[in-house]
Assembly symmetry: C3
Homo-oligomer: 139 residues x 3
């Protein structure tokens, strides 16, 4: 059994989807992983992980807009408001999406669909330093 860990750090500047598919693929290639599980877990509760279409960037714009409407930045709706109007909505958006994603690697290839990309979904307005733990377990 082979196990490797890698902490991918991404600096975000505002609400957006930040693609990191290439960084993940590079790490897999550098380590020559053959078959196994790749577990990704974000170490925060105000940003999340999503697998989304990477063909048309309009998809990402629509996603951000939709989630903003679904979870309004309106302090009158929440008790937890001390960290800013975007903080409680960020926690809710995190609960509605994912903190972690587990992917499969077969014959050195990460099994993603043709149009699938890996994204950090930042829900805070100000700049943040985010950590996404990469953990490979396999052969």
């Amino acid at each position: 059994m082979k196990q490797e860990f890698f902490n991918l750090q991404i600096n975000t500047n505002g609400q957006n989807l930040y693609e990191f598919t290439d960084q993940t693929l590079n790490w897999i290639n550098e380590n020559n992983f053959k078959n196994g599980i790749l577990n990704l877990s974000i170490q925060h509760t105000s940003a999340s992980l999503v697998v989304q279409e990477n063909a048309d960037p309009d998809v990402q714009t629509d996603l951000i807009k939709y989630f903003d409407k679904l979870v309004p930045m309106d302090n009158s709706l929440y008790i937890h408001t001390t960290e800013g109007k975007d903080d409680m909505p960020a926690h809710i958006k995190s609960a509605l999406t994912n903190n972690q994603i587990t992917l499969s690697i077969k014959n050195k290839e990460l099994l993603l669909g043709t149009w699938q990309g890996l994204y950090l979904f930042e829900h805070r307005l100000e700049s943040q330093k985010r950590s996404i733990i990469h953990h490979f377990l396999g052969e």
Copy 2:
């Protein structure tokens, strides 16, 4: 360490929940997996995976109806409209549910609750050919 892969293909014809619990159980039995992780990942971003009640089919009807209301098929709400009025809502529904599910196998048994079934949640209106990668890692 034993690893096996299987690409389960499901032909869908419209928005619905398609149960595939039996196909997954058959694959586990045929391969005589004893203890390990089963990672399921759908290779698309306009359909998703859910674990839901398989006792009363009304639950599935209500789920589909709820998600349709939550994410309206209304082109005026989205920029990404070239692939049809159901496409952007499909990406959003995918983000709100799951692209992948990791399950546990113990003593040759898939650890699902009494009423839990595995479902492909199709969000597109037209017929689609969907792939759900099954990846076993264990003994």
Copy 3:
């Protein structure tokens, strides 16, 4: 390869977030797990698992309130009403959050962020006995 299983049972009494981080950490320490995957799966479809902030309890209050508003307990909205006004909303909330979470353990430490806690999100009004399967695979 080392594999261990543990069924954590939690008695819930109404809609709430029940933290179980300590029980999970205790099990990891008792078993002296070094590096590996920890897969958590809840065996129900009317309660779910979330990783959320454990610093300010107001976050949990706001989360519960938000989900109640997003998925109303209104029998006129659903067909599946025989199990009570809270049952179909519970299935929907379960689909919107997670049935399972996969975490990583490195050097005997569960890789959670500073403010991250593990929670059972109970969506039913009456008391329930819930099972969260813990499955370790690693070394």
